[in-house]
């Protein structure tokens, strides 16, 4: 896989849309921008001194002259970002991290909540349309996806059966898939990992999440427990890891 070198550049806000209650889709114009699915960006949410760090977001989609992100309104940073208007310049560092380890064969994508951001981008780079298991708290929180065999589940039963995304796994034959790609909250990812028969776990890739200081590998703030002891850096060793690179017992946050 040839990495695309990151850069600290200025993109122009192209559009801001609230696609669901509390979920915002933003597009930016940045001619020449490239990235791989699973890579992320560190976006400066305000030109002033505070907040002192940027915010990390997965590249949801590449556009002919830019990119799109999809995010949950969570706090100060995401509120500031969503209040920008078209034409506003924004400082962006990226693309960062390694991205999914692309390869042939049929993929199973398992996502919870905002973890499904970027699934369409990933699906578009695969040789065969994947099977997608998508979970959310309610129908309102399901993310758009239109590129394969989509099965949804919600905690309140407002779309699909009532339950969590791990409840969809019994209907799946893991041996049918070359790769199981997982992204979402840590307890959900652990649930998927534990419910797969150990013999199938080597197929798993997970996109990890961690509080980040820099996002580009210099601060050591984004530690994720590594199998065999110690830590890996989510931002520069990941964010995508093989499931067996991580210590699932110690990974609690």
């Amino acid at each position: 896989m040839n990495r695309i070198l990151p850069d600290d550049f200025i993109a122009e806000t192209a559009s801001v849309r609230r696609i669901r209650p509390g979920i915002v889709c933003m597009t930016f114009s940045a001619p020449g921008f490239r990235s791989l699915p699973g890579q992320f960006l560190e976006i400066e949410v305000s030109p002033g001194p505070f907040p002192v760090t940027r915010r990390p977001f997965t590249v949801n989609r590449l556009l002919p002259e830019g990119f799109e992100i999809l995010f949950d309104l969570r706090g100060r940073g995401t509120e500031l970002l969503s209040s920008l208007s078209p034409g506003s310049p924004v400082r962006v560092l990226g693309p960062l991290g390694n991205g999914w380890r692309l390869g042939p064969g049929k993929w199973l994508l398992v996502g919870g909540g905002m973890g499904c951001a970027g699934f369409s981008f990933l699906a578009g780079e695969l040789e065969e349309p994947p099977t997608v298991l998508m979970g959310a708290s309610t129908a309102d929180r399901l993310l758009p996806f239109d590129d394969g065999d989509l099965r949804v589940i919600t905690e309140d039963g407002s779309s699909g059966p009532r339950g969590r995304v791990t409840d969809l796994l019994p209907g799946i034959e893991p041996g049918d898939y070359r790769v199981v790609a997982v992204c979402g909250p840590v307890p959900m990812m652990r649930g998927v990992w534990l419910s797969l028969p150990p013999g199938h776990r080597r197929r798993v890739q997970v996109s990890a999440e961690s509080r980040m200081g820099c996002g580009w590998g210099v601060c050591g703030g984004c530690a994720v427990p590594a199998a065999g002891g110690g830590y890996v850096k989510c931002c520069s060793d990941g964010p995508v890891f093989a499931g067996d690179e991580l210590d699932w017992d110690r990974w609690t946050v």
């Binding site: 001194p49 200081g213 210099v218 830590y231 520069s236």
Partner: protein
């Protein structure tokens, strides 16, 4: 008094910029090379190195607050032997002098780490970090006690062929007294200073996100606290002062130089802006014109 010049002199070397990348916020330079961010970087301080490997503190290690950043990294590093092989000798050639930061859990560790580093041709100087707030000993027994700082400095001076700065803590003791002790022990400079001890608590539950609870706090709002300390220390000692803390604008660099700093380090601003040195230099230069 005239406005400060951006050309500086440190330990017999001339620099066309006062800006040094602060310890623990620039790794060992590998990532900067990837982004090609060397413009106006006078020198790089590595992350702190200890004798044995340290895996560091459990996550979360970073928490942002309204006006700053808490970090609880805990001196994560693979130990000096492995650092020398993999990061210092074997890594990319960084196009600026390398200052290796040295930390320890006990007094005797600092000079032992320096002894190992003396075996490598790469370091230009050392920074002795007696002030990390993120380890069990708190860095405080060394960093806040002038007699311990003097002993550590003396032991390092005995084994070192290179200049070294002692990085002081703002968290306990009298910084001027500790600075004088370091100078007495043979330090070639002083870094003023390390992060301030901080904590963020959830008032509903009384719990903290960071497992070790207290952490190191950095913020541009702390600049006046650093300016005061740089001024107090630099007018008392005769060795150069490297300012560290609170720099976010070119104006902050000029202020620290005016307060008596020879060089100015940049930490969290670099984490946010990989080209911080270049940007700060340009801003300062424009103000001087």
């Amino acid at each position: 008094m005239t406005a400060p010049s951006l050309s500086r002199n440190l330990w017999g070397r001339r620099f066309d910029s006062p800006l040094i990348l602060a310890g623990g916020t620039a790794g060992f330079g590998r990532e900067l090379a990837l982004l090609d961010c060397w413009d106006r970087v006078a020198a790089l301080v590595s992350k702190s190195v200890t004798l044995k490997p340290r895996e560091g503190n459990p996550p979360p290690r970073i928490q942002e607050t309204e006006y700053g950043l808490l970090n609880s990294i805990g001196l994560a590093n693979p130990g000096v032997n492995s650092v020398v092989q993999q990061e210092i000798n074997g890594s990319v050639n960084i196009p600026c002098p390398l200052i290796v930061s040295v930390a320890g859990e006990e007094e005797e560790e600092f000079h032992r780490v320096v002894e190992v580093l003396e075996g490598s041709p790469m370091p230009w100087a050392y920074e002795i970090n007696v002030s990390c707030p993120n380890v069990a000993s708190g860095g405080l027994p060394f960093g806040s006690e002038p007699s311990a700082v003097e002993r550590i400095s003396r032991a390092v001076a005995r084994v070192s062929s290179r200049p070294f700065a002692v990085k002081l803590t703002p968290n306990a003791g009298d910084m001027v007294e500790t600075a004088l002790a370091a100078q007495e022990g043979g330090a070639s400079g002083l870094t003023v200073c390390n992060t301030f001890l901080g904590m963020k608590m959830d008032w509903r539950t009384g719990s903290t996100l960071i497992p070790r609870k207290v952490a190191g706090y950095s913020s541009p709002a702390l600049l006046p606290l650093v300016v005061a300390r740089v001024w107090q220390v630099s007018r008392t000692v005769s060795i150069p002062v490297l300012a560290s803390g609170g720099v976010a604008r070119g104006e902050d660099v000029l202020e620290l130089l005016a307060a008596g700093a020879e060089m100015v380090q940049v930490g969290i601003r670099l984490m946010r802006r990989p080209r911080a040195a270049s940007e700060l230099f340009r801003e300062a230069e424009e103000l001087l014109q």
